[in-house]
Symmetry: C2
Subunit: 244 residues, 2 copies
Amino acid sequence: MPERATPETAPRGNTTVYRPTARTVPTRARDRAGYDRELVHGILDEAYVCHLGFVRDGAPIVLPTLYGRVDERLYVHGSTGSRPLRMASGTGTDHSGTEGTEGTDPGLAVCLTVTHVDGLVLARSAFHHSINYRSVVVHGIARQVTDPEERRSALDAIVDHVVPGRSFDSRPANDRELAATAVLRLDLDEVSAKVRTGGPNDEPEDVGLPHWTGVVPVVHGYGAPVPADDLDPSVALPDYLSVL
Amino acid sequence: MPERATPETAPRGNTTVYRPTARTVPTRARDRAGYDRELVHGILDEAYVCHLGFVRDGAPIVLPTLYGRVDERLYVHGSTGSRPLRMASGTGTDHSGTEGTEGTDPGLAVCLTVTHVDGLVLARSAFHHSINYRSVVVHGIARQVTDPEERRSALDAIVDHVVPGRSFDSRPANDRELAATAVLRLDLDEVSAKVRTGGPNDEPEDVGLPHWTGVVPVVHGYGAPVPADDLDPSVALPDYLSVL
């Protein structure tokens, strides 16, 4: 049996679950929420685009961005001139990181959300229409990564999160490129997954209605890779792309 | 030529573009930003899941949710017990809507973001790896919809946004279901699109490197619909599902 946790009793640290907190326990559909690390890692590793939320001038901002995972750390990156990355470094006009500091880095309070849509759930009643999905929501303070080795491994992780194996088959960032790139780290600590699976949950009195009901699977895949115009034709398609 | 707008000169109202504002003009990659209504509507109408950001206790929260569009209004819905919907109605513990009021509804400051991933852009250098994508970011105050007719048409729009034509082929919400459902409206006013297309932008000095380079198209589609176990076999698959 996997270890189960409640907000009151769960230990911190190297457990098989994330400790639920007030903001990771949903107000409704609690049966869809999960805190297993394996479940969370699986959802995170199947995607490469997240939606990163932060607060600027009191208002929410949500931007899509790539991310990578190394164990219990998520990484996002961007131009050193981009707003969230400037804000996390304390050089922006506003920031909302309030919990502690590492040196002079105030951090940036973020919410990082990853969602897979797996199916359209068509019930007989409009009310019971739904989506089969798997999502992960991570709350925390994102901090600038300054250690050169961690920066390099974070950037590799972001590239390899999109195409596993690709970082070994590309020119690593040079000093100028590294200097132009900011990397933020978000520890996986306050985390929850939410999953809906299965068919429609129609009301018993609706079962006789003449509407088609069931699930339309949503399929994600890749088309045939399109070489760049200037690619030397002798460069073969690498194995890691043919198995995508 | 489409009408172009700048923050200084663009008129409000029934123009072909949204007026750029300080927070819809990106700090970088401005050439990827767009404000054309047709472009924005197209990106919004091709998706049905958005990521909705709001602020609670000073921290950002980003949740995936369905949405619908009716002209220049977006709608999201949820249980009347869910946090953002309680917050928008002023019955939650906190809210961040500060701009004006309609009756007693304080509204909820939100950022609604929709993203399509169209391709993986593999450059010869790790630095120039990218994603081809189309995204829309909407800022504004989400407000509870109380008018019964607008609520019904909003719920139809959300169902039809997922599967066009489906709202006509399902039992409409009854009074009990309507009472349990909150609907929020977000006007399309402060809106921008961001689009990246095309191949990798490698540095000239990297062109001779022996790495495969190009674009891997990302494909989205639907599998064969799976009827519910209790579906009467005489109910045929409707046309609007066979053309999905």
